[in-house]
Symmetry: C2
Subunit: 216 residues, 2 copies
């Protein structure tokens, strides 16, 4: 059995690429999304042009980095979404999976979602990049959820379009609420999950008007 030279080289390149990505990960998590290509190359023990040979440009590197993390998160969400349970439980578990992920690794979250903000010391403002990572993650999650909704919920005619609207809308709700919650931590995670599920369960429509209060 002869592993051809070609195959060997390709495997070596893939391994190298993975090493570079891990180095980039360390730097980005340490220096924030403003990490420079020079810094990443130095962390990997090499120099810039090699990074460019592997990833094309900075966007390519950051995209590869984002895909790594995004895939991990999406796998978890898919599991929660497809679990054998009633709908309310599935929704709560999915919300909780997402929130637990961003709670556990806020640095990664900020890299994926808020690539414009430094995470560490108040460094110079310039040079951050890869702003376009957040939208793809949100969009991928939205499409994923839309598909699950369309598959498992009976929405009648035109349900496919409705499912997509809801998929993106629910993901956006989860994202914005999670972002706010991560910043202010106003309540424990389960509470947030319950509140959001309540919202999706129509509690806003069911609640009565307030008639008390000053002036009424």
């Amino acid at each position: 059995m002869e592993t051809s030279q070609r195959e060997d080289q390709q495997r070596a390149a893939a391994r190298r690429r993975k090493e570079l990505l891990e180095a980039a990960d360390r730097v980005v998590l340490r220096d924030g999304p403003g990490a420079s290509m020079n810094a990443i190359a130095a962390e990997a023990g090499i120099t810039k042009p090699i990074l460019y040979r592997h990833f094309g440009d900075k966007g390519g590197l950051y995209r590869a980095l984002a895909v790594r993390h995004t895939d991990g998160l999406l796998a978890g969400l898919r599991a929660a979404l497809d679990a054998p349970a009633n709908r309310r439980d599935r929704v709560e578990r999915t919300l909780d999976t997402y929130l637990a992920a961003i709670e556990a690794r806020p640095q990664v979250y900020r890299f994926l979602m808020h690539p414009g903000e430094d995470s560490g010391q108040p460094e110079s403002e310039q040079g951050f990049d890869a702003g376009r990572q957040s939208a793809p993650l949100l969009r991928r999650m939205g499409e994923e959820l839309a598909q699950v909704i369309a598959e498992r919920v009976d929405l009648g005619t035109g349900g496919e379009e409705l499912a997509r609207v809801w998929g993106h809308g629910i993901v956006g709700m989860m994202h914005a609420a999670g972002d706010w919650w991560l910043r202010e931590r106003p309540c424990p995670r389960e509470t947030l999950v319950r509140h959001l599920a309540d919202l999706l369960w129509g509690r806003l429509a069911a609640a009565g008007d307030r008639t008390d209060g000053p002036g009424f």
Copy 2:
């Protein structure tokens, strides 16, 4: 009546600042969020250091720009939110106000929300800035909505916290769905508004499971 020299100067400075912001607006809307300080200064008929004297740094300029647009949008949303109508109508009108705004001026929207993406020709990737504008707008809208919810909806004890969760969640839903809709335009605006309002009205909870389809 002596207008003191000091007051005159301050008014002149404010007027100048407004002119500069208008020039910056034109450039940003033409060149996308990657507009350089040099380009903005040239459009205003001056040179860079003056911009820096007025706005401190690029973030300051972009922040001032964002505040301008954000205030306009928020005023419209407040009006729709406080209109004398039943809750469903208010919700639909608010959603429609937001979506109409981003539909009418997508360039402004992209500047506020996706500062990382060029809008025009595929220019060089570097130099965009002011990534942190989108979060403040979303947060301000979330807090605004939370306040209206807390004021007008009876949510029982702990309602204030619930209102904030919902405020941010609903704003995120609106934002993500709007972003997706603006990109793909899969349906007319009224349809999107109705779908989102239906989601908030608990139609997801009320719908039955699908039992048809291949394999079941």
